[in-house]
């Protein structure tokens, strides 16, 4: 279908306006429509350009204020594709636009929250925290640098989304899957290394057999370095698999455990 209506022609500068606005996607997050207001806010430069007719404009605003929620780093892909669809067909098929948005937001939240939240955090903040614990101020700066890289990712997603329009190429999904798995490999390697690097809880226990004093910690170290930290991580992992367990409850359990074991001089 050829777009003969020249008023609906997206230029680079429109996409740039959208790019700056998408940073406001989740600031209005609320329990009713979640990112609904933010989505509409992001689309406003496009709405202003495409729909000069007042009634049409109202329709578009209402459409984009609806419920929306996904991973904010990947959202620009959906926004870009949405712009391409509307550039072609305007508001002719509002249901199609809405179902496109709703259809993508779930899978994108899944992939995005894994790659750009969980794995991203595990790598970036492991390294940053490790540096910070050594007293290195670069630990506080490192996440700022990587955050700017994520800006680039968002920009790229907006452009790729716009260029691919609604023709979601299966190759893209495949690439994302491989990226997801590769990032998981990197993330898990880093957090494996994190355990002995930052968890340095030890036992001060000493066994006395008559004249012989035996410190427990060196014996443990011969079995497995960082045995106590590893056991703690596995203990938490196991507890988190229990029903009705959440991170806040686990914090309370660990606080009490720490106070008890510390006060009894079992751990230090």
């Amino acid at each position: 279908m050829i777009n003969e209506d020249t008023s609906r022609k997206v230029e680079k500068k429109d996409l740039n306006k959208v790019f700056w606005r998408q940073f406001g996607l989740q600031v209005g997050w609320n329990y009713e429509k979640m990112m609904g207001m933010g989505y509409c806010f992001t689309m406003i430069p496009i709405i202003e350009k495409f729909y000069k007719d007042k009634e049409e404009k109202k329709e578009a605003l209402d459409l984009h204020l609806q419920f929306f929620n996904t991973n904010p780093t990947m959202a620009p892909y959906i926004i870009g594709a949405d712009i391409a669809i509307e550039e072609e067909a305007g508001l002719e098929n509002k249901e199609a636009i809405n179902s496109f948005k709703v259809g993508l937001m779930g899978p994108f939240a899944g992939i995005g929250d894994t790659v750009f939240v969980a794995i991203y955090r595990s790598i970036v903040f492991s390294i940053a925290a490790y540096l910070a614990l050594e007293g290195n101020f670069f630990g506080a700066i490192f996440p700022v640098i990587t955050a700017l890289l994520l800006w680039g990712v968002r920009y790229k997603f907006l452009m790729v989304g716009y260029n691919q329009g609604h023709k979601l190429i299966t190759g893209f999904a495949n690439q994302l899957q491989i990226l997801n798995e590769a990032a998981t490999v990197l993330g898990l390697t880093v957090i494996g290394g994190l355990i002995p690097s930052i968890l340095n809880v030890k036992t001060p226990l000493v066994f006395t057999h008559g004249e012989v004093k035996m410190e427990l910690q060196p014996m443990i170290d011969k079995i497995l370095p960082s045995l106590i930290p590893v056991s703690l991580v596995l203990f938490c992992y196991w507890l988190l698999g229990k029903k009705h367990m959440n991170s806040t409850k686990l914090i309370v359990i660990l606080m009490i455990m720490g106070i008890a074991l510390g006060a009894l001089n079992i751990l230090k």
Binding site: G28, W29, L61, Y130, F137, A140, T146, V190, G193, S197
Partner: protein, 255 residues
């Protein structure tokens, strides 16, 4: 060390701005490490701030606001923990011990903000009916203020009444509890790692975690080295996957 009113204002202002950054541009002002470091800088003890922030960050490693779930406020915890420890000259572990409950107490600030923002959503819907795009733009930007105050108010109150709280803590809390809190601070980061293991496909990819552990624990490679090795393994993984993919495709044609 006492905290001056100017210091309180600077930290409160930082807290306001970083709260908004955390939901918009996300340049990294809102994480616990930065919060600790900044507070440490203002209080004249950067090393303390870095250590408190880093430990809290590690605790919260796997705790993110997926789909808008409320999580403990590690940033406020890092700010107040660092400030309290700087005021009393207490240890890093102690600072962490008292900051964790603060973080949990402030979990529901985000919940309140998300309720408050329904007001702006409704306002936007009203503007939409009038075709008023500028109104929607304003409403969305205005909703950032609720996040700013959501963090700034508890931070200000915590710092303002901090000396009383801290005085109480140092006078009334027995020695064994302070030792115990120190151990709590040391074991809490285990939780962050465990949550990540639950969130990521650990059961499928566990050998990579063992590998990372062995490289760091036995070979004493530091974490940046581990990350570089991890990156190489991930790259090899991709190459292997892509080759496998093309081989299967080729096989199909032969059949």
């Amino acid at each position: 060390m006492e905290i001056s009113f100017t210091q309180i204002l600077i930290i409160t202002l930082y807290s306001f701005i970083s709260a908004i950054d955390g939901l918009t541009f996300q340049v990294g002002l809102a994480n616990a490490i930065f919060a600790g470091a900044f507070t440490g800088l203002v209080m004249g003890n950067v090393k303390l701030g870095l250590a408190v922030g880093a430990t809290l960050q590690l605790m919260g490693l796997g705790v993110a606001s997926y789909g808008g779930a409320s999580v403990p406020n590690y940033k406020a915890a890092a700010i107040l923990g660092t400030a309290f420890a700087a005021m009393t000259g207490q240890s890093i572990e102690f600072a962490i011990g008292i900051s964790v409950p603060v973080g949990i107490l402030l979990t529901h600030v985000a919940t309140l903000v998300r309720f408050a923002n329904v007001y702006f959503q409704h306002k936007s819907e009203k503007y939409a009916k009038a075709g008023n795009t500028a109104g929607i733009t304003k409403a969305n930007i205005a909703s950032s203020i609720t996040w700013g105050f959501g963090d700034a108010i508890p931070t200000f109150l915590g710092l303002y009444f901090g000396s009383e709280v801290v005085g109480f803590i140092t006078e009334k809390i027995p020695g064994w509890l302070i030792t115990g809190l120190g151990v709590s601070g040391k074991i809490l980061p285990a939780m962050g790692i465990a949550i990540l293991m639950r969130y990521l496909p650990f059961k499928k990819f566990y050998p990579f975690m063992i590998l990372g552990f062995v490289i760091a624990a036995y070979m004493k490679v530091n974490l940046i080295g581990v990350a570089i090795i991890g990156f190489s393994i991930a790259a090899i993984f991709v190459i292997h996957k892509e080759q496998n993919g093309s081989q299967t495709e080729g096989g199909e044609i032969d059949d």
